[in-house]
């Protein structure tokens, strides 16, 4: 094709532009991209699962062959394994954006900053929930747990817990992503904020295995729900400003 032909075929700059997608559609596009990236680099997923399993087993080895103590603290080990693994997944989700300044590419596309946050946080929620789904049966087997309440309740607790970790984690990972010591900075920033999430998730999970004679489950789930509202709300408001100032 000659240059003249190419010019004739190329759309003129004055041609009407397509209507940009709204918040929901933009989130779906970016979530698809993030999940596709995770799928194409499955080694990272495998590493995440392996790290979670190792952490869980290390806790049981550290405590020794005290079956009673293992059962008593199993929920705590389960959530600590998810929390520690979350640092890997959150750092990684922003490392791919830093590699070729892809986050700048998204900003200049322009993609909605809130959609970038939602896609990252939902993608991390999916990963952490999936990790929980792998670790839960392993915990039941290793710590000899008995499921008193329904598995659906456990799956729901895992979901709201993962959502809270992902929302706060996505926000702090975006802040830490440009720092030199980002791998150290992220847990320092994130863990103190997630203490209430850890307490509520561990208490609620313990009730799934030991029963809820005092009817406290609703209170812990309400606390987890409230923390989700706060973290997701703050993320939606502040994240666009954070990525503009990076």
């Amino acid at each position: 094709m000659t240059p003249a032909e190419t010019v004739a075929q190329a759309p003129a700059v004055t041609t009407a532009r397509p209507v940009r997608p709204g918040l929901f559609a933009c989130t779906v596009i970016l979530l698809r991209k993030d999940l596709l990236l995770e799928w194409r680099t499955r080694a990272r997923l495998n590493a995440l699962v392996f790290f979670g399993i190792c952490t869980l087993l290390m806790f049981s080895f550290a405590l020794g062959a005290n079956a009673m103590a293992l059962r008593e603290h199993a929920s705590g080990y389960f959530w600590l394994a998810i929390l520690f693994a979350s640092v890997l997944s959150l750092s990684e989700s922003f490392r791919v954006e830093q590699e070729n300044h892809s986050l700048d590419g998204l900003r200049l596309a322009p993609a909605n900053g809130r959609a970038i946050f939602l896609a990252k946080a939902i993608g991390n929620t999916v990963l952490l929930w999936g990790l929980g789904a792998v670790l839960a049966p392993l915990s039941i087997a290793v710590f000899d747990l008995r499921v008193v309440m329904s598995l659906f309740t456990l799956a729901f607790i895992m979901l709201v817990g993962s959502m809270a970790i992902s929302a706060a984690g996505t926000f702090y990972a975006s802040i830490a992503s440009n720092a030199r010591a980002r791998d150290v900075l992220l847990p320092i920033l994130l863990f103190p904020v997630l203490v209430p999430v850890l307490i509520a998730a561990v208490k609620a999970t313990t009730m799934v295995f030991e029963g809820d004679p005092m009817n406290q489950m609703e209170s812990w789930l309400t606390l987890l729900g409230s923390l989700n509202v706060i973290y997701w709300g703050l993320g939606l408001v502040l994240f666009p400003r954070i990525i503009e100032d990076l």
Partner: protein, 219 residues
């Protein structure tokens, strides 16, 4: 200034103690093409990033395509394309997937995005590498794909930072042709390059920077 592609007044940018741009005032009419020259560290890349709204100036006023950069960055970003030193590409996505993500973000449907991505890959000579991950690409191929990414946006203002870098002689010739095509379509161009002779042949205006200040070009 309604017909100005951009109008900057006393724009300055500071990195720590160093001023990368110092009270720069300049404007460029729509449809014109500007050659931006200067030594390394003279402020060319900083100026392009500020025009693209990738970064904010420390001081000064800036209007791009009729929009004040402090009031609304999104309308500017919709119409401006930046070819940067960074490719903005995802290493683990294929060439086509990288373009499709951008095409979807600017409002194309799945079908339109696929067709446009294929057309762009053909245009930049990467059709055979459509389904190869970017991680396997050479520097020159990444540059070509980054150009495809820029063209896909159909920018009214194209900011090209060292567009000939990392290209082989054939690639440089094709890039010159692409830049000429963009100019022929009425796209306003800002071209930052050390290849002054090539740049002069493709542009109508010139801005020479030294330590962030506008100076008269010697050659």
């Amino acid at each position: 200034m309604a017909d100005a592609a951009f109008h900057i007044v006393d724009v300055s940018k500071r990195y720590g103690p160093r001023w990368a741009l110092a009270r720069l005032t300049f404007s460029l009419e729509r449809g014109k093409s500007l050659l931006l020259t200067g030594h390394n560290g003279s402020g060319k890349t900083t100026l392009l990033k500020i025009l693209a709204t990738a970064m904010s100036p420390t001081l000064g006023k800036l209007t791009v395509l009729g929009h004040d950069c402090h009031e609304g960055r999104e309308p500017i970003r919709e119409k401006v394309g930046l070819l940067s030193h960074a490719s903005f590409l995802y290493e683990d996505l294929t060439a086509a997937q990288n373009l499709v993500v951008l095409a979807r973000l600017i409002g194309m449907t799945d079908g339109e995005a696929d067709a446009t991505a294929d057309a762009m890959l053909t245009r930049v000579g990467l059709a055979k590498r459509r389904d190869h991950p970017v991680r396997q690409f050479s520097a020159g191929m990444r540059k070509r794909l980054a150009v495809g990414r820029l063209l896909l946006k159909r920018p009214e203002l194209a900011l090209l930072d060292e567009p000939f870098g990392e290209l082989d002689p054939q690639g440089i010739g094709e890039m010159e042709k692409l830049i000429a095509e963009l100019a022929a379509q009425g796209t306003t161009l800002v071209l930052a390059t050390h290849l002054v002779d090539q740049g002069k042949a493709l542009t109508t205006e010139r801005l020479h920077l030294e330590e962030g200040r506008r100076v008269e070009a010697r050659a």
